[in-house]
């Protein structure tokens, strides 16, 4: 049976871990990449959140990073398999260049997500599970409570800094 709720939940967890790990490895919470991202981070801090988590959320809004890479890689695998995922990586790279971003986080996230999603399709998951999973994962970061999400991301960032 494809796409039962348990598969969707597992896929959401895998997508969340993939994009948060890669974003934090590429130092997205360190500073706002553009002035708009800094402004979003400051507004989230004013509303009771934490500053570095707010910067990371601003960076996710204002340029395609690893979360966009994960979504488009699952879309590519759903449509055409591995070549679709690599085409999506190329498109994410172009999108990053348009938004004045170096584009390493987005492209790396897209390529790792392509292989992760393809591996899961071999053991009975559908790529559609991963598309919905990524939408749910981004909902937990950006759409439920900005205050709690930014505090969680700040805690993870402090942990990575050592």
């Amino acid at each position: 049976m494809p796409a039962d709720p348990l598969h969707i939940l597992i896929a959401a967890l895998v997508c969340w871990l993939n994009f948060v790990t890669i974003d934090i490895l590429f130092k997205l919470p360190e500073q706002g990449g553009v002035s708009g991202a800094e402004e979003i981070g400051r507004h989230i801090e004013k509303g009771g959140g934490a500053l570095h988590g707010g910067y990371m959320m601003g960076n996710i809004v204002s340029s395609p990073d690893a979360s966009a890479g994960t979504l488009l890689a699952s879309c590519g695998v759903y449509a055409t398999g591995i070549p679709g995922g690599l085409l999506a990586a190329l498109l994410v790279y172009i999108g990053n260049r348009i938004c004045h971003d170096p584009g390493y986080a987005g492209t790396t996230g897209c390529i790792t997500a392509t292989f992760i999603v393809y591996g899961f399709t071999l053991i009975g998951f559908s790529a559609a599970d991963f598309i919905v999973g990524m939408v749910i994962a981004i909902l937990t970061i950006q759409g439920i409570s900005h205050m709690h999400a930014s505090r969680l991301l700040s805690t993870l960032w402090r942990w990575r800094e050592g």
């Binding site: 708009g36 402004e39 979003i40 507004h43 449509a79 598309i131």
Partner: protein
């Protein structure tokens, strides 16, 4: 109801929820993360509706376009007019 229909329904519910949150949020800058959730859900449902290679290009174009729009709105709001 098969797997793709469940997936589409979840995407639609999340998009509608985020649209409500955009309407109810007072702070202009804090509306932008909810708009980002909408563009994730819509890009996903484009590919779920049409599993075709061209759909990946269309979804990527929509996603990058909406990101560019948020970026421009945020940086103009951040004081573009006053700093130049």
């Amino acid at each position: 109801m098969n797997g793709t229909e469940i997936a589409l329904a979840v995407c639609g519910i999340i998009a509608l929820y985020a649209a409500f949150r955009v309407m109810l949020e007072k702070d202009t800058m804090k509306k932008l993360p909810f708009l980002n959730v909408i563009s994730f859900a819509i890009s996903g449902s484009i590919v779920l509706l049409v599993p075709h290679p061209l759909a990946i290009v269309a979804a990527a174009a929509y996603f990058v376009g909406s990101t560019l729009e948020s970026n421009a709105i945020a940086s103009t709001f951040a004081g573009g007019p006053r700093n130049e």
